[in-house]
Amino acid sequence: MISEAFIPAVASLGSVALTLGLIIFYVSKKFHVEEDPMVTILNDILPGVNCGACGYPSCGQFAEVLVETKDSSMTCPVGGTDLAEKLGDTLGITMAEPKPITAVVLCQGDNDTARETAEYLGIQDCWAATQTYVGPKQCRYSCVGLGSCIAFCDFGAMRLENGLIIIDKDRCTGCEACIPACPTGVIVMQEKKAERYVIACNSHDKGAATKKACDAGCIACQKCVKVCDDDAIVIENFLAKIIQEKCTSCGKCIEVCPTKVNCILLEEDLKEAKQKKAS
């Protein structure tokens, strides 16, 4: 039974809705922002993470600038070579390939190897800890181990294991968001190569002090420098450093390094490197 009030109610509300709908339609047409359809296509291809690694604040801006300038040197490290190809195909130009880079933690001082100062019971954040004192680990150059950087990674490439940050090189896109997140500056970018050697220590303390603070620290004994045929290792301020351009990945330096846990790190996981040394 349709009561008397039904028709006027439906009619009045319906006409209000229709009017508002027409207004919205008109406004959307009148104030429509013209967007280059190419930009929309590119936006679909791009990762859409807005990490800023390319140098632009968002993927949208990257697309706009690329469409406008057709600059083939613009790269998106997150998308890698595949994305560069797709972008090139869409625009009809050959895009430069981004150099694959990954973040690396220059520290191997986990809870087993790094000596503790005292239990830290303040705000569990690396900045808060280093602001209070030297940190839960004796070495003041170390990875603090409270995981403040993890929240900065959009790609889930970082995890805290046994008091040390481990970066998954396969997930890391080189966006560099984690670098300013670290108070001690132990995270650096390294080129992704099949066998990458890097001195995973950040300590500029003299050898004796480093040894006291951590079993896995570089004591600058210079054995690696002497054994390297390519002059690829230098000691800077009591810390060894491998010059990547000269390194031929021969592995001689690893064999002579005396610290208990090898502080020259292969691209493999930490566990594998330990196994290799043990065998």
Partner: protein, 441 residues
């Protein structure tokens, strides 16, 4: 009774050592003298391993305008100069001296007192600078810089800070009872630097009646007014002290000299007297060793560079139940992580405590009870600062008065949810500074 207008709390005073006379601690087996005992740049070492030094000899030279000299606390041989833990929590370059047991002063130092009235202002400031005097209340600001404010700032009020509002600490109290003449003379020297118009005050909290009486006896004839202040924390904070004694408010962004005031700690005044009249550099100080976990709480006079370990042994050893060792007072001090840290010129206290709450302390949500707003002496809203800091909104937090927090700890003391309000604020300040440094770099 005079007091500051806004906020304040009344923590238990715990002045266990207020009736214990200062005991002189003998020279320890090793001294670790930090080159960073003051605000500003650390001193540059002027000795190296193997150098022989006499007591009071310069071992570190002030580096720049805001810096201070550092002297050997006893005679002996320099063992090494290397980074070493500092009671502030980080590492600092430290000169290790092995005492030779003679405790012999360098020539011309620690003479019999002379009359300072003939000295010019430049002479006096020069002696203070050479002696490496810094603010001994805890901040460690170089005194020679503080006593020479910009010429356009006229100083009409000089205040000596005898409030000692932190619980446990009684070093200044004992100094007031045992060296009142030196204090008054030091204040006179300071006042003389500002012509005849400056009025001098000594502010003392009402819980130190004997000190008020002693100083009043010595000071009133010299035109110095001894003011009894209501016992309330943080009465000893510079801005609150000025507000209580003069009624003036130091606005955000201002320094005391903008309102014509100058504040110095009681111990600094004694050090000034000794530097000017006896040519004695700052090499020792009174430290209150207290807390429930130390064998014999007492006030000691110890050499700068004595380790916490040696002092704890001198005071009856610490108990096994100690779980925190505090350098300074319990409200604004620092928890040290090893007994091997040395005392520095600004270490007023050493507390051995068993902090039961610390194990269970788990920050809970802010229940907006408003207690922190009630007690903040600076009129801030600590709950909001901490919440915004936790959200990492570092642009917005600067609009909420972050820079005006003196980190006194009153808010954190009262919070029922045990939120680490001061720590969040310090964290935000560090990150804001870091950002500004990176932007200007």
């Amino acid at each position: 009774m005079k007091t500051f207008k806004t906020g304040g709390i009344h923590p238990p005073e715990s002045k266990f050592t207020e009736n214990t006379p200062v005991e002189l601690m003998p020279v320890p087996k090793e001294l670790a003298i930090s080159l960073n005992q003051h605000l500003g740049k650390p001193a540059k070492p002027v000795v190296k391993a193997g150098s022989e030094v006499k007591k009071g000899e310069l071992i570190g030279e002030a580096d720049g305008f805001i810096s201070a000299n550092v002297h050997a606390s006893t005679s002996g041989k320099v063992k090494s100069v290397k980074p070493h833990p500092h009671p502030g929590g980080h590492y600092a370059m430290t000169v290790f001296i092995t005492p030779d047991g003679q405790d012999e002063w360098a020539e011309g130092l620690n003479t019999d007192p002379v009359d300072w009235h003939g000295f010019s202002k430049e002479d006096i400031i020069g002696k203070i600078k050479n002696a490496g005097i810094v603010g001994m209340g805890g901040a460690g600001f170089p005194t020679n810089v503080k006593l020479a404010p910009p010429p356009d700032k006229k100083i009409d009020t000089i205040i000596l800070n005898g409030a000692e509002c932190e619980p446990f600490l009684t070093a200044d109290h004992r100094l007031m009872l045992e060296s009142p003449e030196e204090i008054v003379e030091g204040l006179n020297i300071i006042t003389s630097l500002f012509g005849g118009e400056a009025r001098a005050y000594i502010g003392i909290e009402s819980n130190k009646k004997d000190a008020i009486e002693t100083l009043t006896r010595h000071a009133s004839s010299k035109g110095i007014e001894v003011v009894s202040l209501k016992t309330k924390y943080p009465q000893g904070a510079e801005k609150q002290l000025i507000n209580a004694i003069t009624g003036r408010t130091i606005e955000p962004g201002e320094l005391p000299f903008d309102k014509g005031c100058l504040v110095q700690n009681i111990a600094t005044a004694v050090a000034v007297y000794e530097a000017v009249c006896k040519n004695k550099p700052l090499v020792d100080r009174v430290v209150t060793v207290s807390g429930l976990e130390i064998g014999k709480p007492k006030n000691i006079r110890a050499l700068v560079g004595t380790s916490f370990r040696d002092i704890s042994l001198f005071c009856g050893n610490l108990k096994e139940s100690t779980n925190q060792i505090i350098s300074g007072g319990p409200m604004m001090g620092k928890a040290v992580y090893t007994l091997d840290v040395p005392i520095i010129k600004t270490t007023s206290g050493m507390l051995f405590i068993n902090n039961v709450g610390i194990e269970k302390a788990r920050e809970r949500t802010c229940i907006r009870c408003g207690k922190c707003v009630d007690v903040c002496p600076q009129g801030l809203a600590p709950w909001l600062l901490a919440n915004v800091a936790q959200l990492r909104e570092f642009d917005e937090i600067q609009l909420l008065g972050l820079a005006n927090c003196t980190e006194c700890g009153s808010c954190t003391y009262v919070c029922p949810s045990k939120r680490e309000l001061v720590h969040w604020i310090k964290y935000a300040k560090a990150l804001v500074n870091n950002r500004q440094k990176r932007k200007s770099a």
